[in-house]
Assembly symmetry: C2
Homo-oligomer: 220 residues x 2
DNA sequence: TTCTGATTCAAACAACTGTTTAATTCGTCT
DNA sequence: AGACGAATTAAACAGTTGTTTGAATCAGAA
């Protein structure tokens, strides 16, 4: 029983690895079962044998990715434990940027989570519940504190999206690649994290200042 | 010659309209020729007859969209003519948000331009040259002035992307739809524009302040 | 009207997709 | 060795895709 996985689990693992890489790079629709099996050096029927169908493989890839990424988020939260809100914000952005921008398999898992938002599949609900909601709730608490507003305030919601938008955007993509700027320098991981931190903290401060002078609040 | 367009140009126009809508909603790969022809009440062979092939139709849709959107950008630039940098920035963001968030056909054309960045086709180069480069150059001039830095400075590049990221993000998408917040209020067009303006201007100001105190510049 | 060229149509085409099948190979236990 | 179940394989399957074909239809000129 336990040892039946001599040959078995090995091609299964190869399929999962190849599928993770390809799905992250091109998305569910653009990756064919044949391409996965070619990359995993397996027969075309291997996907159906081990995972039922293509969607079953995708489901398992995404669930594995969600587990790893969720653990990563927990680390990012733990890194700010006991610190004041501003430092918790810095820690969160820094760790997130590291995992998204650095090369390697961790990067791919993050990419899968982002892709599900841009190009949703039937797994969207699962990913939102397990990955995105916890993140946004945590970050919402921090931003609310920094803005001096309750976490469910609309202004907190918008500020949250502003932060999220920046983290996503700086992932090198076709946009930046041909803008005539030196992309390698602009999107340097460390610089980007510090940029987002400084830019966002200033934005929070602007809200704080506006809230302190109610007469100007309408302008915001 | 001139009047041969009785029946001819009409189905051609219907195909272009249907294709524009569908491509904007689902993207090139997810829209079938048959779906376009069904929506345009035309025969399956109509696309190949009028545009050569599917890609020819997509090319024409995107080129038409680029023309309209480019004109729109010119209007946004003209709206800030002669005004100081901060007011030019406000005008640019406001007009952009209007066109992206408001319902209607204008919205779809913008969406096509954004989609080409997320899911590039062979038309990417054309769209970057005709739509994105002019926009980023104009906005780069404004942001450079507001930051007190030359337009080609890396920090200007990052600030540019921060603004762009926010404008893109607030377009309602699956992310926001299930975050447990009241999305209709958070992404209200007018509020979003003012939020992005306030948030970004504060970010610019932070850079300005940091530049004025060189000792702290390394932190940013 | 008759002719001509452009347009439309139903049908079929070839290539690709995910999936299934039935035979074969492999590892493991008796 | 022999037997059994799990895993792999080549081949085929059914459905969808973009595209082509050749006949039918239409509008306008001679």
């Amino acid at each position: 029983m336990t040892t039946r996985g001599g040959r078995d689990r090995r091609t299964r693992k190869r399929l999962l690895d190849a599928a993770t890489r390809l799905f992250a790079e091109r998305g569910l629709k653009y990756v064919t079962v044949r391409a996965i099996c070619r990359a995993a050096r397996a027969n075309v029927a291997a996907v159906n044998y081990h995972f039922g169908d293509k969607m079953g493989l995708y489901r398992e890839v995404l669930e594995d990715a969600a587990s790893v990424v969720t653990k990563m988020t927990a680390e990012a939260i733990a890194a700010g434990e006991g610190l004041p809100a501003e430092e918790r914000f810095r820690a969160y952005v820094r760790i997130n940027c590291q995992h998204i921008f650095r090369a390697g398999p961790k990067n791919r898992l993050q990419q899968l989570m982002h892709r599900e938002l841009q190009e949703p599949t039937e797994m969207l609900d699962t990913i939102i519940e397990r990955v995105w909601k916890p993140r946004f709730e945590y970050l919402g608490g921090i931003v609310g504190e920094l803005l001096g507003l309750p976490p469910d305030d609309d202004r907190v919601g918008r500020a949250l999206l502003s932060v999220h938008a920046q983290i996503v955007m700086f992932k090198p993509s076709p946009v930046q690649l041909r803008m005539g700027r030196n992309v390698e320098r602009i999107v340097d991981p460390a610089d980007v994290a510090e940029h987002i931190i400084a830019f966002s903290l200033a934005g929070f401060e602007a809200y704080r200042a506006a809230a302190a002078v109610p007469a100007a609040a309408g302008r915001l």
